[in-house]
Symmetry: C2
Subunit: 263 residues, 2 copies
Amino acid sequence: MTAVGVAKGRVTGPVVARAFSALAAFDAEHPQLSLSELARRTGLPISTVHRLAAELLACGALERGTSGRYQIGLRLWEIGALAPRGPGLREIALPFLEDLCEVTRENVQLAVREDDEVVYVERLAGSRAVPVRTRVGGRFALSATGVGLVLLAHAPGEVVDRVLASPVPRYTRHTLTSTAAIREALAAARRRDCAVSDRQVTDDAVSVAAPIRHGSGPVVAALSIVAHAEGAEVASLSALVRTSAHAVSRALGSVPGPRRFGG
Amino acid sequence: MTAVGVAKGRVTGPVVARAFSALAAFDAEHPQLSLSELARRTGLPISTVHRLAAELLACGALERGTSGRYQIGLRLWEIGALAPRGPGLREIALPFLEDLCEVTRENVQLAVREDDEVVYVERLAGSRAVPVRTRVGGRFALSATGVGLVLLAHAPGEVVDRVLASPVPRYTRHTLTSTAAIREALAAARRRDCAVSDRQVTDDAVSVAAPIRHGSGPVVAALSIVAHAEGAEVASLSALVRTSAHAVSRALGSVPGPRRFGG
């Protein structure tokens, strides 16, 4: 899982880009930062960071914790909660995720693609769920997980080429890393309307994922069940997850107008 | 419920403040905006909005929906998800909220104070829950709801003075609007470690709320049960919500270091 790379590799007007690089310096492992940590993580001079932090505090994008260190402000969460591909999608999909979680008592995950990575929008853990490495709002490689394979299978060709041209991370001895094996897995995911990641992220978990479409249109998200690999019945998990993904697709497509999801 | 007022009434460096006023132009009723709508809602010239939108698109804070209109970007949601007073608090409190929801089958709400308003961080609806007017990430008046009365009861005196100096909104004929009645309700909330909002927001709901502290320290949030007013047993709801709020307080206080909540 990488830091939120808001400004990485993009050139924008200096002030807005710098302000966002300061916000993007925070991540799950670093939810609070001092001024000098902010300067180090952004690569900006301390005087610049000092001025930016003051401006971000003034508009509520940053707050100070009681320790005096900076943290992401509640206001930024309020604005972020309006993102159609995050909470907007989650709200529509949640009842179906809850049903799936109650029936299987496994992990159920909802994810979208952002550039060359998976972003997890929701994760429910059933009562017998296997431990997983993901968190809501966190990122992961497209090439390893069930949802990642589904999203990559339906991504533009240049995204696939870019992912395969970079070093593909290996998590277990089962992780697919060869270009040929990954291209074959993507073709299978399109053919079967479903992808299986068998112990490719952790040694004891299998993920079965299906695409979510905007109605009958393009793939906009993926849904998965992550179960204990031992004893998993992949065919029945696949039927379950595909059925639920179709239900979410229908619900997304029936939301009136472009308001709720951005279609 | 008001729009997210990031820049309202605050003076900051012009570019960062303008960029945030563009983001703050989106709200639950307006999750997608055209360039001219953005200009109208921010009061900025269209040429300025055009340049700002391009910069915000470049860093992923905004996206374009398939309709071509602007919407809040997934990246902003990812960064916002790091806010300790939002998802950080929610994650720690969620198991206790789920227990309370399962036992009561009513609405369970978690909220914090931001300036002079309540912000709802989580809401779970049980199987017999009464309809409520709140949404996660939404705002409400401090003077009317159970969580609002708890948060106002433990706010600095100047916040209370400011809230009482402004016109207090009336939702039903039971809404407290006189300064004397509200001050009395705040004193009662402190005395009883619990606040009751009886049909003050909708005609058929009663809310019973208790403070959440950071360990044994300051009040940082409030927890409520919102039930059908008819037949509600306020004393037993109060015992339940206070017990759960104490459990959340203990969990918040025991999180190692200042990392998770910002204490």
